[in-house]
């Protein structure tokens, strides 16, 4: 019974991801695309939750839906939308897109056909010590094993700050 709920939820979230994604690339209005992308990102968040990755679920919502999409919308608003809507659009490459989708689909199909044993699939939440949540597990490896990537990520953020000031500020 429970696995049924999980399966149903998986398909609901997957539909959100795919539907949002398709809307994102097909909408003519950039704001609509951005809103569709939010739907897609929320679907991904749901999939994380199904995988018992609660921390990633929270990160996905706070950072992507909250932060990155805000930035996206601001960037869209920097553009003169009325003008942009009348310009030639480059998202009309249906044939190329279909070919690409077919190629990737064939790849995924081949993977499902013979490769699923080649990957280390784990059940959601597997490997977690009992009584320990996903956040603790992530924290444990982030601040011990992966401390170097964690620290240098701040350098990446610094570069982004300097870069955005150089690019966007009126006078530097």
């Amino acid at each position: 019974m429970l696995t049924d709920i999980n399966t149903i939820l998986f398909y609901v979230f997957a539909a959100l991801v795919l539907g949002g994604g398709i809307l994102t690339v097909t909408r003519r209005n950039a704001v609509h695309s951005a809103i569709s992308l939010i739907v897609s990102l929320l679907g991904v968040a749901g999939l994380y939750l199904l995988q018992q990755a609660e921390f990633l679920f929270a990160v996905q919502i706070v950072l992507y839906v909250g932060g990155i999409m805000l930035l996206f919308l601001f960037v869209i608003m920097l553009v003169n939308l009325d003008l942009a809507a009348h310009q030639r659009q480059f998202n009309k490459q249906w044939l190329v897109a279909l070919a690409a989708v077919a190629a990737v689909g064939a790849g995924v199909g081949y993977f499902l056909y013979r490769g699923k044993d080649a990957f280390h699939f784990a059940e959601g939440g597997a490997g977690l010590p009992p009584g320990l949540g996903n956040t603790e597990a992530i924290a444990d490896s982030l601040f011990s094993e992966y401390l170097l990537p964690f620290e240098i990520a701040s350098v990446l953020l610094l570069v982004a700050v300097v870069g955005s000031v150089v690019m966007a500020k009126k006078r530097i």
Binding site: H120, P129, S144, V155, L156, L158, G163, I172
Partner: protein, 491 residues
């Protein structure tokens, strides 16, 4: 709970160059709004001091060689070689920048801070032994480069360069990440050493995963890295970006990120993907040939010197890929030697271009160099050394670089690739020689008449790489022995 946290003093020493650069980069960034000093040389001096200190740090780190931070970094001879190389490239970028930025009225600390951060990322790439570190290093280096390419914000060409570089570069990075995800899925690890063990069937998880998935991962990573080194067929961006970017930045892009990405390239393909080498060899073979051919034949038709050097840099990426195709320790050593020689001669040639370009970078055409030999014999002589080295004339570093690469290719029985590569270098001689003819056999034009006398920084930026090029051409064994010793990546 895993108890494998913590690090010791040796880890910190092995991470010394990056630490120095990060601290100095942050200092540069924070000092600017405090000091309110624009157009001063202080920031340049500080950056050079940082880079020299980091070279010292890299050498000191080598005395404590070994893995750091649980195998995430591998500080060996290979890493040290590329660390020192990108640091030297950094110094040679800043030296001509003094005059160049002053002329465009654009000396800010941001320029230097971004440059230092970018080099920090490249040092990280040189030492990375973990795909996560590779990725973060690549991103630090790339994002700083995107901004530097668009540093002249009021110049449309510079804007175009930044936008193209950014959009295509992010796209390429996504490919690389897909490759990383596949590797993690197939091997359960992002550490190169651990992933290699699984791929070669010696991992704890039993038999090796199906080679087709590892092959797809290798192909995806090849796309991402191939873009960054401007190897064909992912080279389209290079001419536009090099032309639009400020000349010292173009010089930097053609040497620093390229050398660091090749370091990653060699380390990933010669360690992790080495067990499936026969699978990716045709791919690299094809890309090497295509890069050489497209680069050299397109360069023949250019009138803009920066575009010509961009196509030439595509061709040179092709030569290095020939060394990778050889799939041997000799090949890796040849690639290391070649990258050192290439970085020096290319950055020197760009320094001459930035000297002559004038305010607003007006003079970028090959004709603008006519008569340089009469008016400024020193600049012309140094530029001649770089051009001769780019052709591969004996007594220059370029000659031995090509020699070792094709020797390694022949040892691995890549006869056809060697023959086609040699034919390519013959074609390349034409467009470099055209520059020489222009400099020495034509009357001085407007650009040369208006050229300023060489400043101290430019003088150093021309003479130092020229000396390096000649040194590599006359005493190649010093560098080659070190490269040969440290080219054994599988330990």
């Amino acid at each position: 709970m895993s108890a494998s946290f913590g690090f010791n003093a040796a880890d910190l020493i092995r991470f010394l160059p990056e630490t120095i650069l990060t601290v100095m980069g942050t200092l540069l960034m924070v000092l600017d709004p405090i000091l309110h000093r624009r157009g001063s040389h202080a920031f340049g001096h500080l950056s050079i001091a940082a880079l020299v200190a980091a070279i010292g740090g890299a050498v000191y780190a080598y005395t404590q060689a070994g893995p750091a931070f649980g195998g995430m970094l591998m500080v060996d001879g290979f890493a040290t070689f590329f660390r020192v190389l990108v640091l030297v490239v950094g110094i040679l970028t800043i030296l001509p920048s003094y005059r160049f930025l002053a002329r465009q009225d654009a000396e800010t600390s941001e320029y230097h801070a971004l440059l230092i951060f970018s080099i920090a990322g490249q040092c990280l790439m040189a030492a990375a032994n973990d795909l996560i570190i590779v990725f973060i290093g690549l991103e630090i280096s790339s994002i700083a480069s995107y901004v530097l390419a668009g540093y002249f914000r009021d110049d449309k060409r510079s804007n175009e360069a930044a936008l193209k570089y950014f959009l295509l570069g992010s796209f390429a990075t996504a490919f690389f990440l897909y490759g990383v995800a596949l590797i993690y899925g197939a091997t359960g690890s992002v550490n190169l050493t651990a992933a290699r063990a699984v791929i070669s069937g010696q991992g704890p998880g039993g038999p090796a995963p199906a080679p087709v998935f590892i092959g797809v991962a290798a192909a995806l990573m090849f796309v991402g890295l191939g873009f960054k080194v401007s190897a064909a067929p992912f080279q389209i961006w290079a001419p536009d970006v090099y032309q639009g970017a400020p000349t010292p930045v173009a010089a930097f892009l053609s040497a620093g990120p390229k050398a660091a990405t090749f370091a990653v390239f060699l380390r990933i393909f010669m360690t992790m993907f080495e067990p499936i080498g026969s699978g990716w060899e045709p791919l690299v073979w094809f890309s090497a040939l295509l890069s050489m051919t497209i680069g050299n034949f397109a360069a023949l038709m250019q009138t803009n010197i920066k575009r010509m050097l961009a196509y030439s840099s595509i061709a040179h990426a092709g030569y290095v890929l020939v060394a990778l195709t050889a799939r041997s320790q000799v090949g890796t050593a040849a690639a290391m030697f070649y990258l050192a020689a290439y970085a020096l001669m290319n950055i020197g040639a760009f320094a001459a271009v930035s000297h002559l370009s004038g305010r607003g970078e007006r003079y970028q055409n090959i004709e603008d160099f006519s008569g340089l030999g009469q008016k400024q014999p020193l600049t012309a002589a140094m530029l001649s050394i770089f051009l001769l080295s780019l052709i591969g004339v004996p007594l220059t570093g370029g000659f031995f670089g090509k020699f070792y690469i094709f020797k390694a290719a022949l040892e691995s029985h890549l006869v056809w690739l060697t023959v086609l590569g040699l034919l390519n270098s013959a074609v390349a001689a034409y467009y470099y020689l055209r520059m020489l003819v222009m400099m020495y056999m034509h009357e001085p034009g407007e650009a040369v008449e208006n050229a300023e006398p060489l400043s101290l920084g430019l003088r150093a930026a021309l003479i130092l790489p020229a000396l390096g090029t000649l040194l590599l051409g006359i005493f190649p064994t010093w560098v080659l022995e070190f490269a040969g010793k440290s080219a054994a990546l599988v330990k």
